[in-house]
Amino acid sequence: MDIESAAVLLKSYDGPRISVMEVCGTHTAAIFNTGVRSLLSPKIRLISGPGCPVCVTPTTFIDRCIEIAKTENRVVMSFGDMLKVPGSRVSLAGARSEGGRVEMMYSPFEAVARAKRDPGTTFVLAAVGFETTVPAYALAIEEAAALGLENIRLVTALKSVLPALKWVSENGEADGFICPGHVSVITGADAYTQLAEKYDKPFVVAGFEGEHIVAAICAIIQALSGKRGVVRNLYPSAVSGEGNLKAQAVIDKYFERGSAFWRGLDAIPDSGFYLREEYARFDGGGRELGDDGAMPSGCLCGDVIAGRADPSECLAFGGACLPENPLGPCMVSAEGACGIWYRGAGSEGW
């Protein structure tokens, strides 16, 4: 189908109301940046999923990192997006202004380089991310081991997206899914087959251009009126059926799976990546971090992450919760649904 006829189909769609979940924040951002929402029939609802690693990281993790940052001879290194996420009391950025040693990194290898230069200090990585980022942590640990470094640790809140999609399929409102693009590069499109068949919902792998997203929504509409439980790979230039086997192997070598708590969702079995026993000397914790209870008062991030509410349905959105002064994690991150909605549509929401 060419782009013109796809656009006509989406604008004139008059079938049953459908909800399509774009799982990852990069797709949410692309949807606003390309103006896809302005091209849809009111009967097609796009909902944002749990695909922002920062947003699903529990406050207990942030609190733990802050505790480490305030310990003598420890430096916490974190990706920039994590720094402003509120913990139970303050954020990592807040802890830094209180004297905690927190530094922003662009790559886990920066921590390895720092650890090599400064053997008297232990560098603790606030390890957050999905399948896309986990290999970088694995390779950083590989390098640290090869260099014989003893002053580097990971506190892990690393997660696998697929078990969360299973949770959302059971508990959420989505009729079909636009699969996370970058994660799919690692996992492969075949990884969604079981979910598609079990829950009888279409899973479509798509790129990040406007045309790709339009094509993915069309493919979901078509599947919903026929054989529903299918996987379509519309991004074959980057995503294969089996995925990136090398990346999968390096993840598997250093990490094992265990239950992990997803902020806003639940504790999800097998959805966390934790360092294997052989690498316990690099392990700074993570397994023990459990449920952190409620979201900040007045914050609907939990429902937003699960796809039960649009950001604009939250009373705090654009008022008490703003990008420069976020109440919940979804407003902080560049990949968080609330922040993207606010930047893309203003305080009224879409």
Partner: protein, 330 residues
């Protein structure tokens, strides 16, 4: 040789630094007097108003593809003067050097500043050096002085519906270049760092009625246009297909989850011009070295805020940049 605290002592080592690096590189009759203050002839300022701007520069790495902190510190301040319609004349520079800095690197930075200043037609007339901390880095502050001819009146508040928006070239080159270097990503992306005087000279020479100018630095095009829209009480509408981004930069942005509309540049400007002068302006800008990829990207309209017609045919609101524009994790 490395910088030590002695270079900041005010004694012999400081004098040698002044003689061998700054004095040699920036030599001109005003600076060469080596007095406590530069004394300027007032004649350039009798016909026009004085324009002053100051900016501090911190960048990692200090030397990057397409420039270095020295070139950056001259271009940044010169461009700020140009954007109010001024002819830049003089610069002062303050250096904060960290102990451990390689003196050869400092000399390279000073040489680059001198070369850039010469091309832009400005003289460095005063300066200062301090040494602080250990780390081998350096920061530069430059202050620029220029004169605005009486007939020039540019202001972000001066735009009206019907005006056109001209952008001088590709977006995102500097930001992508610096981020690539910091993240260890190998590519050919070069910073666009340059002085924009050739474009402003060409626009004025062609008789283009310029309402407002801004260099598109931190915060990117989205932020700059929002400031102009708010100051003028107007809306700005853009056409995505007309906004140029280099293929390599577009690929890098895709990979990092960055939006070229919010990426910093160091050699790009927008000019809001009278809509009737569109053709004249684009012809004039494209004849210049730094404006050869200039394009008209949209219009000023009644209303408020900035919106964009997307390539896909949808519409998008373009807000200011929030936060720092960091690469994504996922």
């Amino acid at each position: 040789m490395k910088i030590t605290s002695a270079h900041g002592s005010g004694g012999r080592d400081s004098a040698l630094l002044m003689r061998d690096i700054f004095g040699r590189r920036f030599s001109n009759p005003i600076l060469d007097r080596l007095e406590d203050a530069a004394v300027l002839d007032s004649s350039p300022f009798t016909h026009g108003r004085l324009a002053v701007s100051t900016d501090s520069f911190v960048v990692t790495p200090l030397v990057f593809k397409g420039g270095d902190i020295g070139k950056l510190s001259v271009c940044g301040t010169v461009n700020d003067l140009l954007m109010v319609g001024a002819k830049p004349l003089y610069l002062t520079c303050g250096f904060i050097l960290e102990e451990g800095l390689d003196v050869d690197l400092l000399d390279l930075v000073a040489a680059s500043m001198a070369e850039t200043a010469q091309v832009a037609g400005v003289s460095v007339i005063a300066g200062d050096t301090k040494v602080a901390g250990y780390g081998g880095g350096l920061c530069v502050n430059t202050t620029g002085i220029g004169v605005v001819p009486p007939e020039r009146e540019v202001s972000a508040a001066g735009c009206e519906p019907g005006d056109a928006v001209l952008l001088s070239g590709n977006l995102g080159d500097h930001h992508a270049c610096i981020l690539s270097a910091r993240m260890g990503v190998e590519n050919e992306i070069k910073s666009d760092c340059c002085c924009l005087y050739d474009i402003t000279d060409a626009l004025y020479a062609a008789g283009v009625r310029i309402k407002a100018m801004r260099d598109v630095t931190r915060g990117g095009l989205g932020t700059v246009l929002n400031e102009i829209a708010a100051s003028s009480g107007c809306a700005v509408s853009l056409r995505e297909e007309d906004i140029p981004v280099d293929e390599a930069v577009r690929g890098f942005c895709g990979l990092m989850g960055l939006d070229p509309l919010y990426m910093g540049n160091e050699g790009k400007m927008i000019a809001v011009i009278d809509g009737r002068d569109e053709t004249k302006a684009i012809k004039a800008a494209r004849k210049t070295q730094n404006g050869k990829n200039a394009v008209l990207i949209g219009q000023v309209a009644t209303g408020n805020g900035v919106s964009m017609q997307t390539r896909l045919g949808g519409t998008r609101r373009v807000d200011v940049l929030y936060g720092e524009g960091l690469p994504r994790i996922c």
